[in-house]
Amino acid sequence: MSEKLISKQDAAVKLLREMLNIRLVEETMAARYAEQEIRCPVHLSVGQEAAAVGVCQALRVTDRVFSTHRCHAHYLAKGGDLKAMLAEIYGKAAGCTGGRGGSMHLTDLEKGMIASVPIVASAIPLAVGSALADKIDRTDRVSVTFFGDASIEEGVFHESANFASLNKLAVLFVCENNLYSVYTNLQDRQPSRPLTNVAMAHDIHASHTDGNDVEAVLKATLDAVERARSGKGPSFLQLDTYRWREHCGPNFDNDIGYRTVDEYEEWRAKDPIELTRRKLRALNLLSEADEKHMTDEVQREIDAAFEFAKAAPLPDPSQASQFVYA
């Protein structure tokens, strides 16, 4: 086998492993939520793993990611520390923000996970500001802002896009279109037109990709990253995907009436992990044994991290008044 093929196999398996890791972390979280030891809202990305992984695999550790309330997958895909994430969600002192932010503010500066902000679209201008700093400093760093389909309804998205385009900033506007804002379908919130039209409004390069196809996401991102690094300015990436579980919380909610089981099943059949797994198997790049080994290994790490987080001490109340001012 040539060097190139090995590395290609490695990269493909890495994509799978990253997605699997995110999936299993969140499925474990969902399973443990009923214990009532995770005492904060959680917005799971189960079903949307390919978007996070495909994008982040195109990035360097020095590139910067900004996220939303639904930030677990982005944090992990960008290399964020799992133990620190779980400890945060368990409200522990060892959490990535010391228990201050909870699940919606995941941050890992060393890994370039700069900020997650739970106010819809509020992190978008931060990413643009980060790119502005890089432009002034003449680095070739890229700033990525992940957001949902509802974010493009917020004015600040447009304000930020206009500024980024005008200044040809190295920003990727990554829109994970999962069709819903909480319980409201896209068609009840926006007129029917390609979402990428919003990029045209600001003269921004746009692409539209199957968000369940991790390789396609990777490819679209690499293209956008290349444009950004070479001074060609920002890109808008529409990634179509689907959130399997409820908007906030660990459960399924296809029974409460805002979406149909049929719709859910249709997207469920496009499971990005299953898709990649099948591809790798068909190409003989992943044996059943490999897969089992991988799954076991990942799950073991996850279980250990959960045990760590559960056992870790709560922060002391006296610390609550720290870090108000620098």
Binding site: G91, G99, G102, V117, P315
Partner: protein
């Protein structure tokens, strides 16, 4: 109206909104998720059954336009009720609120009226975190032209929300999420509660406690315990913080000579600051000691339940402050506090007390 039922504040608000929407065809509802399975914590659920779907308008996630659109519709004679799931989201709409909603009547020399209700929910508990648990009433109380309500109990909430919808001014209604669970007797059908300031919940002779929203529940629990240890406290639920009507507070302090304010929001620059300043100005000679202000400390609210103890004022804190002020023996004070702790039956710090019941 005489037909009373046990209801919680959240349901009482829904009832009030339903009653007034049925009566007045100008009433419309706008919100993100206006007609979704949750319908703003159930507070605007089921309206379509009564008034049809046309007056319940789904809003994209765009709070500034939501507010501006509602103001425009109000200028044209509608009575929009808009709802924010968290007061934080209304921060995106401050320009519309402060400039257009609050000033259109003034600027137009009275020609425009803005009969608009802006509901904003204050979050607390279960790890909400710093951007989903702020209580920013001072921001709105600062602005002439707005009215600002903070209902606590279901009976008030229902009658006041009806009054708010019928008021020809922009009325900000700040609802504490934990108040939604408070139970109380509520008249059925249509009735209004005048937006006329604080409500005296209990009369005492030693001390006046003035509180807003959720803190009224803590103040009432505190007053009960204080009574046991020899301090009889008046408790006033502010209910309306703009226009700020303080005559009942002055009257009470004139009798008791002592004042404690308990804010649901920040202590610093809180509602208590204005109340204390006015009380000092009006009751200077009657005051036996400097008024005490209680409120949130000067930092954001972290997510972890480990960091929360000590942040939110509670009945125990009020009892301790009041007890010290009254010179009650520490042992007595601590026995009252123990009773309060016992009442919570070990409930974690991040969930609401299930036993809060209205006085009605």
């Amino acid at each position: 109206m005489s037909d009373m039922r046990m209801t919680n504040t959240g349901d009482a608000i829904r009832e009030g909104l339903t009653e007034v929407a049925i009566r007045n065809p100008a009433v419309i509802f706008l919100a993100e998720g206006a007609a979704d399975p949750s319908s703003v914590y159930g507070t605007i659920a089921g309206l379509a059954k009564h008034i049809g779907p046309e007056r319940i308008i789904e809003m994209p996630v765009a709070e500034n336009a939501l507010t501006g659109v509602a103001i425009g519709a109000a200028m044209m004679g509608k009575r929009p009720v808009i709802s924010f799931h968290r007061v934080e989201f209304a921060l995106l709409a401050m320009e519309q609120i402060v400039n257009n909603a609050a000033k259109a009547h003034y600027i137009s020399c009275g020609r425009h009226r803005i009969p608009l209700v802006i509901r904003m929910v204050v979050g607390r508990g279960w790890g909400q975190g710093p951007e989903h648990s702020q209580s920013l009433e001072t921001m709105f109380a600062l602005i002439p032209g707005l009215k600002v309500l903070m209902p606590t109990y279901p009976r008030d909430a229902k009658g006041m929300i009806i009054s708010a919808v019928e008021d020809d001014n922009p009325v900000m209604v700040i609802e504490h999420r934990w108040c939604h669970y408070v139970q109380g007797q509520v008249p059925s059908g249509y009735y209004t509660e005048p937006l006329d300031g604080p409500n005296v919940l209990r009369e005492g002779k030693d001390l006046t406690i003035v509180s807003t929203s959720y803190m009224t529940l803590e103040a009432m629990r505190a007053a009960e315990q204080l009574e046991r240890i020899g301090c009889s406290a008046t408790v006033l639920d502010m209910r309306v913080i703009r226009p700020l009507m303080l005559d009942r507070v002055f009257a009470s302090v004139a009798k008791t000579g002592r004042l404690i304010t308990v804010d649901t929001g920040f202590r610093k620059f809180g509602i208590g600051a204005e109340i204390v300043s006015e009380v000092v100005s009006n009751c200077f000679d009657k005051l036996k000691s400097p008024p005490i202000r209680i409120g949130l400390p000067d930092h954001p609210t972290p997510s972890s339940r480990g960091l929360v103890p000590g942040i939110y004022p509670d009945a125990a804190r009020i009892v301790r402050e009041a007890g010290a002020e009254m010179g009650i023996a520490v042992s007595k004070i601590e026995s009252a506090v123990s009773e309060l702790v016992a009442q919570r039956k070990g409930l974690p710090v991040d969930v609401p007390d299930p036993f809060f019941k209205g006085p009605f």
